[in-house]
Amino acid sequence: MLDQPISVGSTPRYRSVLGVRRESLIQWAVFVLVLAGVLAPIVPTIFQSVLTRPLYAAHKAVTADNYVRLFTHHDFGQVVLNSLEFAVLTTLIAVVVAVVLAVLVVRTAIPGGRAIGAMLLWPLYISPLVLAFGWIIMYGPAGFFSVGVQKVLGGVPWNLYTIPGMAVTEAVAMVPIAYLYCSGALRLADPSLEDAARTCGAGPLRILGTVVLPLLRPPIIYSALLIFSTSLETLSVPLLYGRPVGINLFASFIYINGLQQSRPDYGLLAAASVVTLGFMALLVVLQSMLLRNAQRFVAVRGKAARPRLLDLGRLRWVGLAFAWLYLLFGPLLPILGLILRSITVVLTPLVSPFRVLTSSNYATIFSYGSFVHSIINSVVIAVVGAILTALIAALAVVVARRSGFRFQRLLEVTALSPQVVPGLILGIGFFWAFAYIPGAGVISGTLIALIIAFGVRSLPSAFGAIAPLVMQVGEELDNAARSVGADWWRTFSRILLRLITPAFLAAFVLLFVQMIKEFTPAVFLATANTQVIGTTMLQLWLNGDTGSVAALAVIQVAITTVFVLLAGYVLKVRTHA
């Protein structure tokens, strides 16, 4: 057949609609979709911040008054200072703990290093809200552990309801992030560098100080900035700890001024949101300046051979004790307390938990339709949202990295930009967008609204999870498909999509976990019928129903655990391997 000089079959021809090829249509559709999703919540917020009356009201006028009122608000200066203090403390504690743990687990021979390394990542699967509940139940003014200490010492030498208290709790939630980056970098590090130092006569401690730690500078800077910006926007810990004692941070200030007023001051709310957004954007600019080009997608997976471990001698027992004490008091005890609290009437060291066992906390949850609904809602949002977001992110990555699309760079920046938008503000923004955009009112108050908001919030991490794997697929594989007659879309669907399936599934699992934990955008967006686990827990907590909160928290952790284990078996996805 090959000897015949005629072509086989018919050379592929691809239709174009009005002179526009199929690939252009798809690329533009992805671009417009991402752009719309990201701008929808931000533009109305900016408008609202300079308007005299609510967006939907008549007779609005442009004004700077909102900003004037914000900056002269008796609390706002304090809010800024509190937020900064909280963010700085959280970052410091989390990074120091994470670096020490990463070096201990990855580079030194401490007993049980692997198990410790795996457990260090557990808090990633737990919502900061749940962790905060656990900490209050354990270490709060009336906490199990606090009361126990009081019995022995006659007083409690700490107060959880302070900014340092908040920071310690938040740090426990953030340690896994810094640990992931640092341990990844350590695993990738070339062991011969250390061998070289050793041949020059350096002991293990000297090697740690002069060779290992300097290698960690990029992951430290990157994770520090990530933690700093996350703690600037976080709501859970500041709201739970700060509300009883009147300490306000950015998010809790917006929450209290937006939700807990009978007539919310929308102008003030929007102005505060814009100021917070500006702050976050500034951080991102700083981040990109510090980490020009290199570090956006830090490789967390290293396939290099396991380097020789450093022997710290007796010091390793100190290291081991540090790791276990952190694990025990940081995430484990509070979660254990939460589980105990969910099956008891009251949790105090004064009464044995086994004498006050009850199933009534769970019974309460399952007997009220609205509570059951919030669980179902969360699962639906997480499943549907994760699939859709992973799909859109995969398309966005491919258009941004593997097409001749004119605005590919802009698309990437846009897809990553929601990382500067605090969840609460995203919720408010979408709330206004649905109210304001003609026809979008239909979505308002439905689960679709929440899926969109949660999806936009998770888009950057989905993009970040998929992009490195797309980049690992050689561009010649695309080119080969184009040369044999596949257009851009067929190349994507026949070749690239199949090759990034593992990345896609991993992103799906990651997004599911994030979305089941997430609740901040729902604070403003959710109606009575569209509550999620997080908002229900918050409501129950504010009503003082600690037992039900604990039960619901345990249910949330259980759903996540079951899902991650199932994903491991069925989809063969190993999160954070």
Partner: protein, 373 residues
């Protein structure tokens, strides 16, 4: 099989001109090679023909179909019906060998039975019929390379484009693959454009080849023309090992020139190069055509240069000498073992190239870089 015409191709990457007026045409059934160092634009040229690069300006035509012209016409790669073999082979790792070959046929809506026949035919052509069910990672490098070729041929494309397809094979295998590739191309008779930086490949495979440098064509011709009549110092330098000696013409007629070399000797060589007395020229002599001897030679020659052996190396088949003539270094290959440092370099009267231009100052280093001893 159609012919390929490339006219006045231009392409810039930022400030850098990757292609600067590339023009050539390939006739029906010809094996044509683009040869040059990395970054010379040969791959960009090939990928422009494939449609995977978009030239800024110029025309690309295959048969009577124009793919690219100055009016902004651009046929996307999938509609060009060309076969491309990539340097990395680019076999799709999630598909078997058979599936790799099947995709282009499916895209061309070929019926299932005909697909099977064509795939078996193509795999038979490359001698891998029994590997149809294997995955690419289960194949050796040489097998992968042949599968890539089969995939590029299975749909009988109009032109075959090969981008350094042998560069990932080890030396022994590469020689075998070269002979095999040449044989296959002649059997099928497909118009082929081949890109390589390896002069041996270029000379042994091609019907004609083009030597490229910095986005320009230096010379187009048959392997013999390129080797025996290089158009410039750069070509002589890149294809084969060529020594250069600068000098000034003192006398010239229609078929000989007499040159006073800067190293202080006078030589007379046969040439048809249009140079007159007073012109600065560069003489080029291939290292296998320079002779060395320990005593002043007798017989016909163009000139004799007293010289000093600097490096002497034994390569098995012959000896290679690095020799200093004045301040200029030359490389000489010889069957003879020379004792002592003082030697005479004999410039042949016939087969010495005369270039009207001064050689670039660093030409010796370039020779050393491209032809390590």
């Amino acid at each position: 099989m159609p012919d390929v015409v490339v006219e006045n191709l231009h392409k810039r990457f930022g400030q850098q001109a990757a292609l600067d007026g590339v023009s050539f045409s390939v006739t029906d059934g010809e094996f044509f090679t683009l040869l040059g160092p990395s970054g010379c634009g040969k791959s960009t040229t090939l990928m422009s023909i494939a449609g995977l690069e978009r030239p800024d300006d110029g025309t690309i035509r295959v048969g009577d179909v124009t793919f690219v012209d100055s009016s902004g016409r651009f046929t996307p790669p999938e509609e060009r019906d060309l076969g491309v073999v990539f340097q990395s082979y680019a076999l799709w790792p999630h598909m078997t060998v058979g599936q790799n070959l099947e995709l282009p046929l499916k895209l061309r809506k070929v019926s299932k039975t005909q697909r099977d026949d064509l795939i078996d035919d193509a795999l038979g052509q490359v001698g891998l019929a029994e590997l149809r069910g294997r995955y690419p990672h289960q194949l050796s490098g040489g097998q992968q390379q042949r599968v890539a070729l089969a995939r590029a041929l299975v749909y009988s494309p109009r032109v075959l484009l090969l981008d350094e397809p042998l560069s990932n094979l080890d030396a022994k295998l590469r020689e075998r693959a070269r002979a095999w590739l040449k044989d296959l191309q002649q059997r099928i008779g497909i118009t082929t454009i081949y890109v390589t930086h390896d002069q041996i490949e270029a000379l042994s495979l091609s019907d004609r080849l083009a030597v490229m440098q910095e986005g320009r064509m230096l010379q187009v011709g048959t392997p013999e023309e390129i080797y025996e009549q290089p158009a410039s110092v750069e070509v002589a330098d890149f294809v084969g090992r060529c020594n250069t000696l600068a000098g000034e013409v003192v006398d010239a007629d229609s078929d000989t020139v007499v040159v006073d070399l800067d190293v202080g000797e006078r030589v007379q060589v046969d040439t048809t190069a249009p140079v007159g007395p007073g012109a600065r020229v560069t003489l080029g002599v291939r290292s296998e055509r320079l002779r060395v001897s320990q005593s002043p030679p007798s017989g016909a020659y163009g000139g004799v240069l007293p010289a000093r052996v600097v490096v002497r190396s034994y390569t098995g088949a012959r000896y290679e000498y690095e020799i200093e003539v004045g301040t200029t270094r030359v490389f000489v290959e010889s069957d003879e073992l020379l004792e002592g440092d003082r030697v005479f370099v004999v410039v042949p009267r016939n087969g010495t190239f005369v270039f009207a231009k001064e050689a670039p100052a660093n030409v010796d280093e370039e020779v050393a870089e491209w032809h390590p001893a």
